[in-house]
């Protein structure tokens, strides 16, 4: 007998869950992630259920709310099982038609299917859609398949088997060896090997140790942790139980941002269910192992993603980092040995325990094993959450999965690693995405945010955007970061507002390097990265901002002039209607004109014009124009 007390419970529930699915002819798995809910998934659900009732199908077809599917841009999305048909951008108006066609007549409804961009032909199956085709789902294995608010459904998909194995059949050393052997590295950003972290902590003798989960996803542009916590909270909890067993901890906290209310709610529900099922608390699986888990809500400070700061925050203080050593594995939360792992890391642990290290290593590269989740956003066609094997070329991610750049514009750079990362230019787009290769470009893997930028984005103001962030979020404890980021930011503001000097670029780089060398924690040590990488790859843009007072992307308002090209302007009047300042004049079908003294340089006309007739010229062009 491997586990007595919970076996009966588990077996029953497992069958119930399977039966529940079998009792229905079809299951509609409707995404209820934050993205789809914002696009109207809640309404879709009620209308869908009403419609099914109207047609007398309520006993045959079940609507299940699932966690985030990842394809947020096309929300609300849903897939119908067992046929595996995928529908996107579902609106309430289309539902009667959909129910009639698909469930009464048995003909999948083409109108709501994914369309191939060129041929415009419908793609019915999820696995054939390019966005999903290149993905390998490990962390996101349960996305869209289970109701995250029901533990039975997680168990039905082999949930808590790994925890049972780790607790009843393996010693803590076994667990650590498997994890070490798998080569998994922390998914929070720095990529420290998880097995090593656990080993350090397990070797420290202490009556109290803490197992912590970092759900303080602060990087702007990254949302994979939120998604995992919302779509598969039990995977995180199971990973924590296994980790706690490995290091010998009996208390744990999940630190979640207060900005993620749905994640907090679902995690709390999952924890309550675990206590009820005996998967948390005393004597789990009759193994004699105890583990208590609590949620701790953060209060909005980016620096709390740093491990020592996060621990200070759980202690109820200002979340400021402290110098290491002592490392948290020796002295962490309340000075007790602690291990802090990222959400995405923990969600993979059960898989490694179940399938072994070799299975895990079969994907990825030698030094970066397994898969990585990325939040692909910005100027690409297919926005959403993706999971690919480590070592997938950046090009595949952006052009195959991401479907290329919106409106056929030109790819300029991809920002990786948030405020700690950098911009990777087009010339490096063939690099495989691994920890080592990304670091070589000057960016970092970070938590996996990938923001794609096109020629509409100005790299100097992008750097400024990130510096504004870090200067504001700097906790103020160490001088290089507190004062240094402020000075960098001031210099960038000067450049974007036309007060830059040619001698400015070098000090920017020097100061950036000094801040990296002298700062106390990861925030300061990485804060200059956005500047350094943009100077490295887009120095010409800095120079044109400084020398020519020209922001070619038309983003820095003081450094550009918008003008209409008389040769190509058709006089359609679209820009005139779009202009909020009423600065555009002209008769119908004759070339229009922009009154420079009225123009606020908001880009509205530039974005509206279908004929590419708006030119962006240097600021000096304004004076030359005679009215």
């Amino acid at each position: 007998m491997r586990y007595k007390r919970d076996e009966r419970y588990k077996r029953n529930e497992r069958y119930n869950a399977i039966n529940a699915m079998n009792n229905f002819r079809a299951n509609i798995m409707l995404c209820a992630g934050t993205g789809c809910v914002a696009s109207g998934a809640t309404n879709v659900k009620s209308v869908l259920e009403d419609e099914l009732k109207k047609k007398g199908l309520e006993d045959e077809i079940k609507v299940v709310l699932t966690g985030c599917n990842g394809y947020c841009a096309k929300g609300p999305v849903m897939s119908v099982y067992p046929d595996d048909i995928f529908y996107q951008s579902v609106t309430t108006e289309e539902i009667p038609k959909l129910v009639e066609e698909h469930f009464l007549k048995g003909r999948p409804y083409e109108k709501l299917m994914f369309k191939e961009p060129e041929k415009k032909s419908a793609v019915p199956l999820m696995k054939d859609i390019p966005f999903f085709k290149y993905q390998v789902l490990r962390v996101l294995r349960n996305k869209g398949l289970i109701d995250p608010e029901k533990i039975e459904e997680y168990i039905a998909r082999d949930g808590y088997q790994a925890a049972a194995k780790a607790l009843t059949q393996m010693t803590p050393e076994d667990v650590i060896n498997v994890i070490k052997d798998s080569g998994i590295r922390g998914r929070g950003g720095a990529g420290f090997p998880t097995g090593m972290k656990w080993e350090f902590c397990s070797k420290v003798r202490s009556d109290v140790k803490f197992m912590l989960c970092n759900g303080d996803e602060g990087d702007p542009g990254a949302f994979m942790d939120r998604s995992v916590m919302e779509a598969d909270p039990h995977a995180v909890i199971e990973g924590m139980i296994i980790g706690a067993r490995a290091i010998g901890s009996h208390n744990g906290y999940i630190y979640v941002r207060a900005e993620y209310p749905l994640a907090v709610k679902r995690l709390q529900l999952a924890i309550d269910q675990c206590y009820e099922a005996g998967l948390l608390g005393k004597n789990i699986f009759d193994s004699g192992f105890d583990f208590d888990l609590e949620i701790y809500q953060g209060a909005g400070a980016f620096v709390c993603g740093e491990e020592t700061a996060l621990m200070r925050s759980i202690e109820g203080k200002r979340g400021m980092p402290r110098p290491r050593p002592p490392f948290p594995a020796h002295k962490g939360l309340w000075d007790k040995p602690s291990v802090l792992n990222n959400v995405e890391t923990l969600a993979q642990i059960p898989l490694i325990i179940m399938n072994g290290a070799d299975w895990y290593k079969s994907l990825g590269t030698e030094k970066s094993t397994g898969t990585k989740v990325f939040a692909l956003t910005g100027a690409v066609n297919n926005i959403g959450l993706i999971e690919v094997p480590m070592g997938t070329p950046l090009k595949t991610i952006i052009f195959d999965i991401g479907g290329g750049i919106k409106k056929g514009r030109k790819f300029k750079a991809v920002q990786m690693g948030g405020p700690s990362g950098g911009c990777i230019p087009e010339s490096l787009i063939d690099i495989p995405v691994t920890y080592e290769d990304v670091v070589k470009t000057g960016a970092i893997m970070g938590s996996g945010g990938m923001v794609v930028m096109d020629d509409n984005n100005c790299m100097v103001s992008t750097a400024k955007f990130f510096l504004e962030f870090t200067a504001d979020e700097s906790c103020g404890k160490c001088v290089p970061c507190r004062v240094g980021t402020r000075i960098l930011l001031d210099m960038l503001i000067d450049i974007t507002e036309g007060r830059g000097k040619e001698s400015d670029i070098e000090p920017l780089e020097d100061l950036g390097r000094d801040i990296i060398a002298a700062s106390l924690c990861g925030l300061g040590q990485t804060a200059p990265n956005p500047i350094l990488t943009t100077i490295r790859y887009f120095k010409d843009e800095y120079e044109s901002h400084i020398k020519d007072k020209w922001c070619k992307a038309g983003v820095c308002r003081s450094l550009c002039t918008f003008m209409i090209d008389e040769k190509t302007c058709t006089g359609c009047g679209a820009c005139m209607r779009a202009c909020p300042a009423k600065a555009i004049t002209g008769e119908k079908k004759k070339p229009h004109n922009i009154m420079q003294e009225v123009c606020v340089r908001c880009r509205s006309c530039y974005e509206t014009c279908k004929f590419n007739s708006i030119r962006i010229l240097p600021a000096s062009a304004r004076e030359k124009v005679i009215w």
Binding site: T34, D219, G298, A299, R318, T377, L385, G449, S474
Partner: protein, 305 residues
């Protein structure tokens, strides 16, 4: 806001940042780099408010406060300090300072403290005393939360989160009550409140509009949306509308980058925003005073069953 402020600090960076922040708020700002210079300036001109550091070479902050107060007991003074120990703050409070700003501070904290100091100055001039404006029930609930958490380690942040839910914001009075209840110094509670962006010392409107400043939203032009919201509501970020219906805030990243640009009103997420969509969304919560939006009202009211 208008009024004159004298910033006293030996660090040029602090003076510069105070100047930038307060000038943007509409105050007239003057500065002095030391106690002696500040004293000369206060003798020559009268300022509504003096912001001063405590630790300075030469004449220190406490001496300066003492001398200014001797010359002009009604002078409003706010202390900026990187060392908010109980003793110095207590001493300064006894000398009659209005408030203090712990270093490092965010612009929001500085403007907030300054605004409150000005209100206080005006209040005292008019002879009105700030009164306890919280209903007893609210205070009782707060005390219950404090009792519930009191013996848990690291309870300050959860209590403050709950307190903010109950009261809506965390004014000094509430902070002091929590500090007393948890047996933590008020300075420490204040240092926590000012550190985390989730906590606010300003009252909020009935509905909180929180606009995402994440990278994806930035790339997709959230700035124009913020400008539009500011225009429509006629407030700045961090402000509250005159009818107290809306307050406008920004948040680092809502983690809904797939829908960028995004904002959240109360608990509802609005994605793929355009300027028009953003303004329309406001209409779902309350009729706007500025824009004449006739539709929307009845449909909201007509949902009986």
């Amino acid at each position: 806001m208008s009024g004159s402020v004298l910033v006293v600090d030996d660090e040029l960076v602090v003076i510069k940042s105070c100047e930038r922040i307060l000038t943007a708020e509409g105050y007239n700002v003057d500065s002095a780099s030391g106690g002696a210079e500040a004293l000369r300036k206060t003798e020559k001109t009268s300022y509504d408010l003096v912001l001063t550091d405590l630790k300075m070479p030469g004449m220190d902050g406490l001496t300066l406060i003492k001398l200014i107060k001797r010359a002009n007991p009604a002078q409003g003074i706010v202390v900026i300090t990187g060392y908010p120990t109980q003793e110095t703050i207590k001493e300064a409070l006894e000398m009659g300072i209005i408030d203090y700003v712990p270093k490092p501070f965010t612009p929001a904290v500085l403007t907030d403290v300054t605004r409150r100091a000005f209100q206080w100055i005006k209040g005292t001039v008019g002879g009105e005393k700030p009164k306890d404006e919280f209903p007893p029930a609210m205070i009782a609930e707060l005390d219950r939360v404090i009792r519930e958490y009191k013996n848990k380690p690291g309870c300050a942040i959860p209590v403050l989160q709950r307190a903010q839910e109950i009261v809506g914001y965390l004014p000094p009075l509430i902070q002091k009550r929590i500090a007393k209840g948890l047996n933590i110094s008020p300075a420490e509670i204040h240092s926590i409140v000012s550190f985390y962006s989730f906590f606010t010392m300003k009252p909020r409107g009935d509905h909180t509009v929180r606009v995402c400043l994440g990278t994806a939203c930035y790339v997709k032009g959230i700035e124009t949306i913020i400008a539009k919201l500011k225009d429509t509501l006629m407030i700045d970020v961090g402000g509250i509308t005159a009818d107290k219906k809306f307050s406008l805030e920004t948040v680092r990243c809502l983690g809904a980058c797939g829908l960028a640009p995004v904002m959240v009103i109360d608990h509802d997420t609005y994605g793929s925003l355009t300027q028009k969509k953003a303004v329309d969304a406001l209409g779902n919560y309350a009729s706007l005073q500025t824009a004449e939006m006739s539709e929307g009202d009845e449909s909201a009211a007509g949902k009986g069953d």
